[in-house]
Symmetry: C2
Subunit: 459 residues, 2 copies
């Protein structure tokens, strides 16, 4: 069993790997909008076909109450070999953007410019899925089976993996494994392979504020009716104090303070103020007093406004007093915070702060808690070594600000630890316009996964 | 010269008048959106043709830098007769509505239900224009010319009558008159003919708040970047205090206090708290402490949010940290307030309150001051008498919360007083969905205008 031969195979197939990724990314498998259900199905079938092509067994598209899960396995390793469950998601975020800077090439016509491939889903996470699949193909093509492999590729990550938990519970035995490999987290920069040991949880909802029963003429009624857009702004403005802290009573109650050791480790990451300024182009940074930017983004909870709508938003002006106003709100949660508790806290805040001059409702609430993983398991040692082989440097350990509900479900129901890694870069523009994948990093990532599989034979 | 014959003519032509109004209202002459420029032209031509049909002279569609003005005159009265300039606008508000309660019939398929005609522009103000035109037709069809009539029907009222002032200045002699009749204000209820002696002015703008250079993943950056939607809400929330007063420094500086006499008169209008509650369906009233609802709506300035937009507003959720957020803001101004001064005050407020964590700009600002008219001119006496004849009651005098920039321009450049009246009702839903015209009131209004023209021969 020689990883060098498998790596050679991967190198020889670079162009085909890229072409296949482009084909996969051209299909808009947007999970949040039912209009794209046919494309969701199409992508699930594409992946199933791909797995079948290199002799994966039990390849199946499992329907769920939402979007289907693709499963496949290669259980040909020695009796004592470890089993790795490769988790991924084939769904993507919507691509529309009403922002000023929009897509430079069509989001579903994957396009190479310089060292990058541009398109929706290239980095989040069709590129990452394909790095895993290509690595498995390269290893097994040599007839090597250093480890047993299972694939579970779902289609609802971008909408909270709502039906994945049920699927895992129902198929516990099929999914039984020693470790989960989740390539849906990223690197801190192209020179630093990265292992993520903590993911933030998520709470999301929509706040609607209602005033008059229909849009009114602001001249005929303005001054004596509480404008719902204004009332919404007042409620939102009250959710943070001038220290950037969230004012919702009880919100921080269960949040664990960061240890000095962990703060020191986070401080070693190449993510200082300048990093965040240059990545975002924001005029200056903001946030909770007393924490570094990296701590705020990964180890502290947040409350964000993801969308606002009220009244007239077209060209020109319209002197309307709108009947209602809406905000999409989400919170990133840290370990020990509970989404339902946060929902209740926000509801209580609204109950005590919303004036009698408006009506309100909190709808479409959903969420999941944060997760923590080991930094010292044998599998972590195997992947550390793989990264050292390919990048000639020790990987860094970091917390991630984003959320992967699947990790939570797998840890809870399969009772195994998750190795969170991946080859996404901080400037890849996930969820925004001009999402990209850095191809040299992607190729290196594939090679690192090849080494990882071989390393797992020796732990 | 017998008004009874003209009134009889109007009664005999009721159905035709309604049919013509439906034809006129079926054309979407939306002035704020250049896509409707052909319909603007079509409506101007329709009105010009209508005026020509009853022998108005010098009928002409005057181009302006914006939408055209329709002119026509009937100067056949005795040498000493008064000349009335009938002002109106043929443009309408957009009809789209993303609110919950929307149009029950197509806004541009005028539809009679019960006593009302439903459609965009039926009451604001194509119905009002046609009441004037039909009254003139009824009088002159008898060969009666108790008064000289000029028509000036513009196409930019709903977007601030931007080019009307230039037009008036250029055509001062053509437009010379003793009084302007402006039927673009309404009645307090169907039993109370109403004369409006004060109109609020308007200031409108768009506030844009910019943060990161593109939409960001809220997991990767949330917590250390000031969310532009949140920052916008904070700025807007700060524009009112908890007494409903506007906090913009200097905003109230030039506002004249209401006299006790005027407050007593406004208190006699049938517009108490219950009126405003039942007209709007709002859960409770709101506004500046120390003023009645009617005072707040007509004699006090306001600051309204007409629209909000940021980030993701579609179905479901998207965990985006938006690159920008936008609010459409407008102020209703009272006499002595100046739109440019208000603009500067808002700009200064933003300069001192906007944090360094965001960028902002105030764009598309426009405005016009408020106006006051006489309550005792001979023409006011003529219209009072006409209302008494038709409604068997004294008209009420009121201030109007809305704005008619044209009134300001005519008062300023033609140096004549304006008679502001009209047959629009408070529940007509101007600018909102299901705009309606109460047909019995409309017919009575036409008859009152017939009497008004005859009365003018005797003042």
């Amino acid at each position: 069993m020689d990883p060098a031969v498998a790596v050679q195979y991967a190198r020889e197939n670079k162009q085909r790997f890229l072409d296949e990724l482009k084909t996969l990314c051209a299909i808009p498998s947007i999970s949040t909008d039912p209009a794209y259900n046919p494309e969701i199905q199409q992508v699930a079938e594409w992946i199933a076909a791909k797995l079948s092509r290199f002799d994966a067994e039990k390849v199946q598209i499992f329907p769920t109450e939402g979007h289907p899960v693709v499963y496949g396995e290669l259980l040909k390793a020695e009796p004592n070999a470890k089993t790795i469950l490769i988790y991924g998601h084939y769904d993507v975020q919507p691509a529309e953007s009403q922002t000023l800077k929009s897509w430079e090439s069509d989001p579903f016509t994957p396009t190479v410019r310089g060292e990058n491939l541009y398109g929706r889903g290239v980095t989040d996470m069709k590129g990452q899925i394909m790095a895993c699949i290509n690595a498995v193909e390269a290893v097994t093509h040599q007839g090597d089976f250093p480890v047993n492999i299972k694939f579970m590729i779902e289609g609802e990550e971008e909408i909270g993996s709502e039906h994945l938990e049920d699927f895992i519970i129902k198929h516990k035995e099929l999914l039984a494994c020693d470790y989960v490999l989740n390539a849906d987290t990223g690197m801190v920069n192209p020179d630093m392979p990265t292992i993520t040991y903590a993911l933030r949880g998520l709470y999301a909802c929509e706040l609607r504020v209602y005033g008059p029963q229909k849009d009114l003429h602001s001249g005929s009624f303005g001054g004596t009716i509480h404008n719902p857009a204004q009332a919404l702004c007042e409620l939102i403005a009250g959710m943070h104090d001038d220290q950037g802290r969230i004012t919702i009573p009880g919100f921080y109650e269960k949040v664990q303070p960061l240890s000095e050791e962990e703060r020191a480790q986070l401080a070693r990451l190449p993510k200082d103020e300048n990093f965040y300024l240059s990545e975002t182009g924001a005029p200056s940074l903001w946030g909770e007093t007393g924490y570094t930017p990296e701590e705020r983004v990964t180890a502290r909870p947040t409350l964000e406004i993801n969308g606002l709508y009220s009244g007239f938003t077209g060209e020109g002006s319209k002197t309307v007093l709108p009947a209602y106003a809406m905000a999409k709100i989400s919170c990133r949660l840290v370990p020990n915070q509970d989404a339902e508790e946060v929902h209740n806290q926000i509801e209580k805040y609204l109950q005590s702060h919303a004036p009698a001059t408006i009506r309100w409702e909190l709808i479409n609430a959903r969420g999941n808690p944060a997760t923590l993983s080991s930094r010292n398991s044998p599998a972590i040692k195997a992947i550390r070594k793989a990264f050292e082989t390919v990048w000639h440097t020790q990987p860094v350990f970091k917390r991630e600000g984003g959320s992967v509900a699947a990790v939570l479900h797998m840890q809870k129901h399969l009772r195994v630890d998750t190795i969170n890694t991946g080859f996404c870069l901080p400037d890849d523009g996930m969820h925004g316009p001009n999402e990209k994948l850095h191809l040299p990093t992607w190729y290196k990532g594939t090679e690192a996964l090849i080494h990882f599989f071989y390393n797992l034979a020796n732990i």
